[in-house]
């Protein structure tokens, strides 16, 4: 390259490249900067609000003081409930698509429907959850109705990641297992699933992140404005972090008094997302190295 004759056109070409590459680099770092601005804004404003009391106490004085404990527990309940539904169904569905479905037409159809489900806006899930679970099935506003609605929302995420995980398992494992006389289910459960397991768990963790931050689906299916009590069953309502942030940042008779609570709640939500993402990445890396060793 150094011996290249730097004629006029060559110089122009390289200058164009330098400008273009500089622009791209600049824009990429701009994208990263956006994230950093949002994160640091929430963190800097939110940290003063965080204390042990904030995390473990009930809201007080018209939700301008006290803590957000019931909202944290509520969100945990909803996450657990939705995953209890979405994880087994999603994994089984992906196993069916990847390991069992014989005709490619069926496979394509299910995949297409899954993609469609993934594209449906979250507010439509809210409408649907209200019409089916709350009204038709008569669950009322409850953890059950909210969890099922969120579970349906998370289903495509679980299916897709599980499918990817199963696909990445080399066919030689399956062939070897079948050749040794194992049945299809034995092959799937004893050979394929253990290898794919780390990636499946990564998908699970990512969908937990998604579910814990959704507001629109729980608006009309479970979320309570004020309920300073922990749920005692699946037909109870709960407070939830995202909805709590929404109400204390837009309603209430004194917004300024609850602003600090709002920053704190936003920070807790962000931290959950951060943990979920870091955990997923760490798992991916950890098991990624391990699987390669085999």
């Amino acid at each position: 390259m150094t011996e290249e004759i730097l004629d006029a056109s060559g110089r122009a070409k390289r200058r164009a490249q330098r400008i273009a590459f500089f622009t791209f680099t600049f824009m990429s770092f701009f994208v990263i900067a956006i994230l950093l601005v949002i994160l640091s804004f929430i963190i800097i404003r939110g940290i003063p609000a965080i204390s042990w009391e904030f995390l473990t106490e009930m809201p007080k004085d018209g939700m301008t003081k006290g803590g957000i404990f019931p909202a944290i527990i509520g969100t945990l309940c909803l996450v657990a409930g939705s995953m209890l539904f979405a994880f087994p169904v999603g994994v089984m569905s992906a196993i069916y698509i990847n390991e069992y479905a014989k005709s490619s037409w069926v496979k394509r159809f299910i995949q297409m429907m899954t993609n469609n489900l993934a594209g449906i806006p979250s507010i439509v899930f809210g409408l649907f959850g209200m019409a089916l679970f709350v009204n038709r099935f008569g669950f009322g506003d409850s953890i059950l109705a909210g969890s099922l609605t969120l579970g349906l929302l998370a289903l495509p995420v679980v299916i897709r990641t599980t499918e990817e995980a199963l696909k990445s398992v080399d066919d030689s494992f399956r062939i070897a297992s079948i050749a040794l006389g194992a049945s299809k289910w034995q092959t799937t459960s004893l050979v394929v699933l253990p290898i794919a397991f780390p990636n499946i768990i990564t998908g699970l963790i990512l969908s937990i992140g998604r579910v814990s931050g959704e507001t629109a689906p729980i608006l009309f299916t479970v979320a309570a404005y004020f309920l300073p009590k922990l749920p005692s069953g699946i037909f109870d309502q709960v407070m939830a972090l995202p909805y709590h942030l929404y109400v204390i940042s837009t309603s209430g008779t004194d917004l300024k008094a609850s602003r600090e609570m709002a920053y704190g709640t936003a920070l807790v939500l962000i931290v959950i997302v951060l943990i979920v993402n870091l955990l997923a990445n760490w798992l991916r890396k950890y098991f990624g190295n391990k699987v390669k060793l085999h």
């Binding site: 070409k13 164009a16 590459f21 791209f24 680099t25 824009m27 990429s28 994208v31 990263i32 994230l35 949002i38 929430i42 169904v89 999603g90 089984m92 569905s93 196993i95 069916y96 698509i97 069992y100 479905a101 299910i110 429907m113 899954t114 993609n115 469609n116 489900l117 594209g119 449906i120 806006p121 507010i123 439509v124 899930f125 809210g126 409408l127 649907f128 209200m130 019409a131 089916l132 349906l152 289903l155 049945s183 299809k184 289910w185 990512l206 931050g213 507001t215 629109a216 608006l219 009309f220 995202p242 942030l245 929404y246 940042s249 936003a266 962000i270 997302v273 979920v276 993402n277 990445n281």
Partner: protein
């Protein structure tokens, strides 16, 4: 025995798996069923609240009015029957509560027992009257002419420019401002996000070294993971005042504020998918271009981008899809005025924000409630079109 049991178990498991496999399809079908069965109901519902009627004097030649005409009459924008297809006669708009301006309490009776006949009398006496009366207080021998207010039809629902779902006596359900508002905000969001997203994708796929990439990838995933209500909150306390100051606007809650937030939210989708698309360019093509003396940059924009253009458009479309359905962030920053948008610096109202804000207050099973489900149908159809076109584009690529 053992083998037959084993076989049974295998079939059972396969059956179970198959059932799970149908859950997503079933859910999509159920969503379609529930949305549409509730939503279609809006077209068979009278815009006049159940239990009420609109009556005219018998001599009036008008036999039917549209919901819009009724609203304009009661808003005193139409004041003569000539403008509603009748004779030259001033309109007297009457509601039940106005009764005390015509009759004293004594005349009506202590428990309003004379109310029905007095209403009857009033309608009979005034040729220009239009009366919005409760069926409960309609006399047995009613002397007025009950007119029908035309039901809303799909054309007026989709093309109507007025969204007044709680207007009395007749609700106005024109979804056009909401549809256009949704598309407008989403479209502007993509205009803002596409250059940034594409540049980042190119940077990550072609320019950055592995070390930088390994840092950037999780950071962008993180951007995708931040809950929409946090974006909304950020928009509310930072972007809205900023827009107001920078453009010196009377209001900060504008389509632009919404587009900026939605653009940021659509970035991860655009980046991930277009980066994948850029990476599928065969190495041979790249190397051929470089061997011919093209610079890296020339290779990128003359070979790699044209090759992956369908993937990039899929990314853009999916980004729009993400923006169209976003609810909470938009609800918090766009101002929600139901007008047809003309510039990006005006407030707009989107379909998801309308559903989230109004569903709680609408009496369940009523027309307004059904209209919100009908809006859900529109949203569903928009996202379905988006998904299908992405399927189409990626199928073509294969």
């Amino acid at each position: 025995m053992n083998t037959s049991f084993k076989k049974f178990k295998e079939t059972l498991i396969e059956g179970l798996l198959m059932i799970s496999g149908t859950v997503t399809s079933l859910t999509v079908l159920l969503i379609v069923f529930f949305l549409f069965s509730e939503g279609i109901g809006v077209f068979s519902e009278s815009p006049v609240e159940a239990g009420y009627s609109i009556a005219l004097n018998k001599a009036n030649t008008v036999t039917a009015l549209s919901a819009e005409q009724v609203k304009n009459i009661y808003d005193k924008k139409i004041t003569n029957w000539q403008d509603a297809g009748g004779k030259n006669e001033a309109i007297i708009a009457f509601r039940m509560d106005d009764i005390d301006t015509y009759y004293t309490e004594d005349e009506l009776g202590s428990s309003f027992e004379h109310l029905p006949e007095k209403i009857n009398e009033l309608i009979e006496k005034n040729p220009g009257i239009i009366a919005f009366v409760s069926d409960k207080y309609k006399a047995k021998e009613f002397n007025g002419k009950i007119i029908t207010v035309k039901n809303i039809n799909p054309k007026s629902f989709l093309g109507g420019e007025q969204w007044f779902p709680t207007a009395e006596p007749a609700a106005q359900l024109g979804a056009l401002p909401l549809i256009l508002g949704t598309l407008w905000v989403s479209f502007c969001a993509i205009i803002l996000a596409l250059p940034l997203g594409l540049a980042t994708a190119i940077y990550m796929a072609e320019i950055a070294n592995d070390k930088v990439r390994n840092v950037m990838k999780p950071v962008i995933e993180l951007l995708a993971g931040i809950p929409s209500v946090v974006y909304g909150f950020f928009g509310l306390v930072v972007i809205v005042p900023l827009i107001q100051d920078v453009f010196n606007l009377p209001v900060g809650e504008t389509a632009l504020s919404g587009s900026i937030i939605l653009g940021i939210m659509a970035l991860p989708t655009i980046i991930t998918i277009s980066e994948d698309a850029l990476r599928t360019t065969p190495k041979a093509m790249k190397e051929a271009s470089l061997a011919l003396g093209a610079t890296n940059w020339q290779t990128i924009y003359k070979v790699i981008i044209p090759y992956s253009v369908s993937g990039i458009s899929a990314a853009a479309i999916l980004g729009i899809g993400r923006a169209v359905g976003e609810t909470m962030a938009v609800l918090m920053v766009t101002g929600n005025a139901s007008v047809i948008p003309h510039t990006i610096l005006e407030p707009v109202r989107t379909i998801p924000a309308t559903i989230a804000a109004e569903l709680g207050e609408a009496p369940q099973g009523g027309m307004h409630f059904k209209a919100l489900f009908a809006l859900g149908c529109i949203l569903f159809i928009i996202t379905l079109i988006i998904n299908l076109s992405v399927e189409f584009i990626s199928a073509k690529r294969k």
